[in-house]
Symmetry: C2
Subunit: 340 residues, 2 copies
């Protein structure tokens, strides 16, 4: 690696989004007098009568959860998107532009066991989550009014997660959201120029360099991307170019469950705490087109920076100018690799 | 206003950045079991011997602050950008792209009085902050290696502010940062097509509609923009098209100080708490060009949503897909206007 990148302030380009991140390698140990988070090392019961996601309990909407045994999916009681709202467009003078957005918000319970998190679950049980993602992507995406299916997980109070029961969400929408539309643009441009997916070429080079790989198996690599913004940001990239998770073989599905578990187990060791993050899958739109340019992947954005209680704040300069990071992606990768 | 925008989920276009925000007007009252913030109603002394920004105290770098009487500016002891780092470029295969970034990070103490915040300061004292911003923008921007000067303020622990002493920051850089470069692109496109700045035309229409104006005076309007992302996001827009703050008349400078005070006073009334936010000025690059397309403005991004302790989390869907908001910009503007 160019050793300037290890020493001096620089910007790195995110080839997937066309945006930049500011890296300040020299600034690793400034003092912290700011906000520290509560560290809840609480042990949770396997069943919590007050949890609206536990089997058999009632939800805020009044409905009762079935006595589910593995995964369970239902429509979010407070959906940000609705399926049967009217179509409309507001356009005024090149400035005021709005359009209706329809969609479906679903919640997925990963397990009936209130006490678990992904890194604590068995691979065969995480595999059921993967299978459900695939089914949901397929079913939701088959609706002609649904053109994108965003699968994600918010983990930890610090990430605004309002319930510790292991769960994720799916928001399926008519319009292509902002982040995937950037990735679509840059992947398409690359594919048209090179005939390969951007992430195939990227991954091949990363495997050669071996500076940012956390670990790999037959089907996936877990990597701190060259353009990582969050301190311990990571990506799970399939080795085979696939536009969508429905393209996975049986082996790949199990390998994904295993990779997801292993990466999150490593995360939990960084500060010896259940590691908070937002994670999600970026993949081809469900607009009926082929999208050979897309190479699906799973992104992890964890906020912790220095300890279980001190996070990186994306504020001020980050909101108004450019995201900034202190430790380099390479040193973050090294730390994560050593914890494997 | 199109009444659909008040009732159904929709996306709004940000004419300054080319991005979208998802608005879910129907979802105003979902329950909250998630993280609540500490509410520090602490009364601060006018002088704190442990504060590294108070007059006469020593800073972490070892330097001692002078016994300053109004504003005071110095180089950040933990600058993310450095002025004398080498120039370099890393470019590899359309994927790996990095470049050196030089710059200067400065801290501005708004007042020697540790206990104050902007809304509690006198207009004549805030005017000194405005004057210093103008001077700094001019001086920093005159350096041929500095092409953009980002002035900002992080207020409140919840915004990662590590010291409650009233202060702001300036990060001046060689490269045009990500957010201003989006705004430059869309303002230029608009200016070339219409011959007016985007924000002149926008402001004129907002003043006619009077749905999102919080207040106005002779020189400025404070407004919740049509495309606001944060619950109580606001912009201060000068009525006269000016590319940069150095273009202000004496009256305008005082009016800016007054507008800044008034808006933040309103903010403090929303939840009866010292309202946290990141705020900053977007204006023309200091690259020696004219930039008639630029109309400078000051943006406020406050995170609180429902109370002094419950904020909007920009996580999960927001990080991976599209920023989402519940209360409409119009109802936020109404609330703020009524508190004026
Ligand atoms: O330098 P400060 O104020 O301690 O740091 C704060 O503001 C910076 C600029 O917005 C951010 O990069 C940091 O994450 C934040 O904690
Ligand atoms: O629906 P939840 O999980 O309560 O809400 C959480 O995730 C949503 C989707 O990422 C965000 O919009 C909310 O701000 C966050 O609090």
């Amino acid at each position: 690696m160019d050793k300037n990148l290890n020493e001096y302030p620089h910007r790195r380009y995110n080839a997937l989004t066309g945006e930049w991140v500011l890296v300040s390698p020299h600034r690793s140990k400034r003092p912290w007098q700011g906000q520290v988070e509560k560290h809840s090392a609480e042990v949770r019961p396997q069943y919590d009568p007050g949890c609206y996601l536990c089997p058999g309990n009632s939800r805020s909407g009044g409905e009762q959860n079935p006595d589910y045994k593995d995964v369970y999916v239902f429509i979010n009681d407070f959906s940000a998107l609705l399926k049967d709202s009217p179509d409309f467009d507001v356009v005024e003078d090149d400035i005021f532009k709005a359009e209706s957005e329809k969609g479906i918000c679903r919640v997925i319970c990963f397990s009936p066991d209130h006490s678990l998190t992904i890194p604590q679950m068995k691979v065969e049980d995480i595999r059921k989550v993967v299978d459900l993602w695939i089914e949901e992507y397929h079913t939701l995406g088959s609706d002609p009014e649904i053109n994108y299916v965003q699968i994600f997980e918010n983990k930890g109070e610090i990430m605004g997660c309002s319930n510790p029961h292991p769960h994720g969400q799916i928001w399926a929408s008519q319009k292509l959201p902002v982040e995937p539309s950037k990735k679509q643009h840059y992947q398409l441009e690359y594919f048209q120029k090179h005939g390969d997916t951007l992430l195939s070429d990227y991954l091949q080079k990363e495997l050669q360099k071996d500076e940012r790989i956390i670990f790999e198996n037959n089907h996936f690599a877990a990597i701190v991307p060259f353009w990582a913004t969050w301190p311990y940001e990571a990506m799970i990239i399939p080795k085979r170019a696939m536009a969508r998770i429905t393209d996975m073989t049986d082996d790949e599905k199990t390998a994904l469950a295993d990779t997801y578990k292993r990466l999150t187990m490593i995360y939990d060791k960084v500060f010896d705490v259940s590691f908070p993050y937002s994670a999600g899958i970026h993949q081809a739109p469900t607009d009926g087109k082929e999208h050979n340019e897309w190479h699906w992947h799973m992104a992890f954005y964890p906020p912790l920076l220095r300890s279980a209680t001190v996070k990186k704040f994306m504020v001020g300069y980050e909101m108004l100018a450019t995201p900034q990071r202190d430790i380099t992606p390479e040193s973050a990768a090294q730390i994560l690799k050593n914890l494997n």
